[in-house]
């Protein structure tokens, strides 16, 4: 019997199978001359008023910069955000499936899917995508953050490529530039003057811009902040009121006043 409100099942009944969703799962792996677009830096961290999710704008294939205006922090619904690292084609498709799954569930079942249900949905997608992930053609390592209305708090989860889900207490990072950030966050929380979770919004935003700049310093696949070209990371804030994008103007001011100097 069909599970109520399952959009993937509806798609499959219409002849749209898992293989169509992630076509690379039947591939023979990456041929030697194929360069996949993968490098990135995305992360989510808790601060005083909720959760901030940030991602740089660069998309690379090997050592070629493909695009400078990628949005890797995707709003799935009013209360959840997925930050993607990995193969964009698969990652964007997953985001689209999730977005429609949550909408479909809410409209058909006349209630919102619980935060835990949303996490499971992403986990299932990653699990189904495992062959492509192992072949290297569809690797996606997302960070999922959202507001859990049942428990009344923001939450951050990260995944491995096979769909195992882990809850992050303070922060989660993903992508090629993430190791730098992870080191800094660890240091800040352990020996820093104030733990990240206690920061107010302005301090947290300045900190995010600095982290992104640090990541870009050591990872060529991370765009960081390009003030000359007016390119700032995408930063979204999650709180009880839902997801809100921090306007580029605000980042511009903070960057020129608190990061450059």
């Amino acid at each position: 019997m069909r599970q109520q409100g399952d959009f993937l099942q509806v798609l499959q009944e219409q002849g749209y199978g898992m293989d169509n969703l992630f076509p690379s799962s039947k591939g023979n792996g990456v041929s030697s001359h194929t360069e996949l677009t993968m490098g990135t830096t995305v992360f989510a961290m808790k601060y005083a008023d909720g959760v901030l999710v940030a991602g740089d704008r660069r998309a690379t294939a090997g050592n070629v910069v493909m695009y400078d205006r990628t949005d890797k922090v995707l709003e799935i619904d009013r209360f959840s955000v997925m930050a993607i690292a990995g193969v964009p084609a698969t990652a964007f498709e997953m985001a689209r499936v999730l977005e429609h799954s949550f909408k479909y569930y809410r409209r058909s079942q006349l209630q919102d899917l619980s935060f835990e249900g949303k996490l499971r949905a992403l986990s299932t997608l990653l699990k189904n995508n495992a062959p492509a992930a192992l072949a290297g053609t569809g690797t996606v390592v997302p960070v999922f953050a959202g507001y859990d209305s049942l428990e009344g708090c923001g939450k951050i989860f990260f995944y491995d490529i096979l769909g195992a889900e882990f809850e992050a207490v303070e922060y989660a990072v993903s992508g090629s530039g993430s190791s730098t950030i992870r080191g800094i966050l660890f240091y800040m929380n352990r020996w820093g003057t104030s733990p990240v979770a206690g920061m107010n919004e302005e301090d947290a935003l300045i900190f995010v811009l600095r982290l992104m700049t640090s990541a870009a310093e050591f990872d060529s696949a991370t765009g960081g902040v390009d003030a000359q070209a007016q390119l700032y990371p995408i930063i979204k804030r999650i709180s009880a009121e839902g997801v809100r994008t921090i306007p580029a103007d605000r980042l511009k001011t903070l960057f020129s006043e608190k990061v450059l100097t």
């Binding site: 509806v10 219409q14 749209y16 689209r96 429609h100 409209r107 058909s108 006349l110």
Partner: protein, 275 residues
């Protein structure tokens, strides 16, 4: 026995009488397009009658809840698959009605060995401008109509005619409050006319006289309408959904809460509290 054409026609006619009779007990539903969006209004005794279908589309129903639920899923599945595989802007009420609902409802109605859907459905799609608003209403036999300004689900086609005339006589509403007042009035009129409708039993007694359902009924006086609305407001729940053109978001559907509605209801319709 239905192999003969005459028998089949007779069976379909019986079906019509049976279904018409079912709807005389139903709750009318009014959809009105105005500057800010589309307002859908009805009353319910517990179960909602208006549902979100897609970013810009809502569905209102009259009739049997189980049938409505089944058809709601048909529309939801179609809309979401289309929105996913093509794009959200390709999901239109017109195609959901013409390709999704109409064939299903018509087939069920004409398959005389099976039960028909005891339901009438209104699909409303809010556009970026008022000229792009669409309202589609479909009858239990699969006949549908498209309107730009208003759409109704009522028990008979004569009541619908009356409401269409009444709508033309009204000043086009330019605020939510005005839209609510007009919709309440239209609801009141259809509710009164429905109560006065002869049931199928009465018709048989009258024999072959001109069918009363084809003539346009007269509009009840203002006090009768207000009194019906007051009476219903005190007994049932007013259900209002706004497809908000000005929401600024992809999703336009918003169910209006009772607290939001209370101050907007015209004084003449507010039930007086018993001393």
């Amino acid at each position: 026995m239905y192999e003969e054409p005459y028998r089949w026609i007779e069976a379909v006619a019986n079906r019509r009488t049976y279904l018409d009779d079912q709807f005389t007990q139903g709750n009318p539903l009014i959809g009105v397009s105005f500057t800010q969006g589309i307002l859908l209004l009805t009353f319910n005794r517990g179960t909602d009658k208006v549902y979100e279908v897609y970013d810009r589309i809502a569905l209102g129903g009259m009739g049997h809840p189980a049938d409505l639920e089944k058809l709601r899923y048909t529309v939801l599945d179609m809309a979401h698959v289309e929105g996913f595989q093509r794009s959200p802007s390709d999901v239109t009420a017109s195609r959901l009605m013409k390709n999704g609902l109409a064939p299903v409802i018509k087939q069920a109605f004409e398959e005389i060995y099976k039960a028909p859907y005891i339901t009438k459905i209104l699909l409303a799609e809010v556009g970026t401008t008022q000229e792009r608003d669409h309202l589609f209403s479909i009858n239990y036999d699969g006949m549908f109509e498209e309107q730009r300004e208003f759409g109704v689900l009522v028990a008979s086609s004569s009541i619908r005619e009356t409401l269409a005339q009444e709508w033309k006589a009204q000043v086009p509403p330019s605020s939510l409050q005005a839209a609510l007042e007009v919709s309440l009035r239209l609801w009141g009129i259809s509710s009164l006319l429905q109560t006065d409708m002869p049931s199928s039993g009465d018709e048989e007694e009258k024999g072959d006289e001109a069918s009363p359902t084809t003539s346009v009924s007269t509009i009840p006086d203002d006090e009768a309408i207000a009194s019906r609305i007051r009476e219903t407001l005190s007994k049932e729940t007013l259900e209002c959904v706004l497809l908000d053109r000005e929401s600024g978001k992809m999703e336009t559907y918003r169910s209006l809460s009772q607290a939001e509605l209370q101050p907007l209801i015209p004084q003449k319709f507010v039930p007086t509290t018993e001393p």
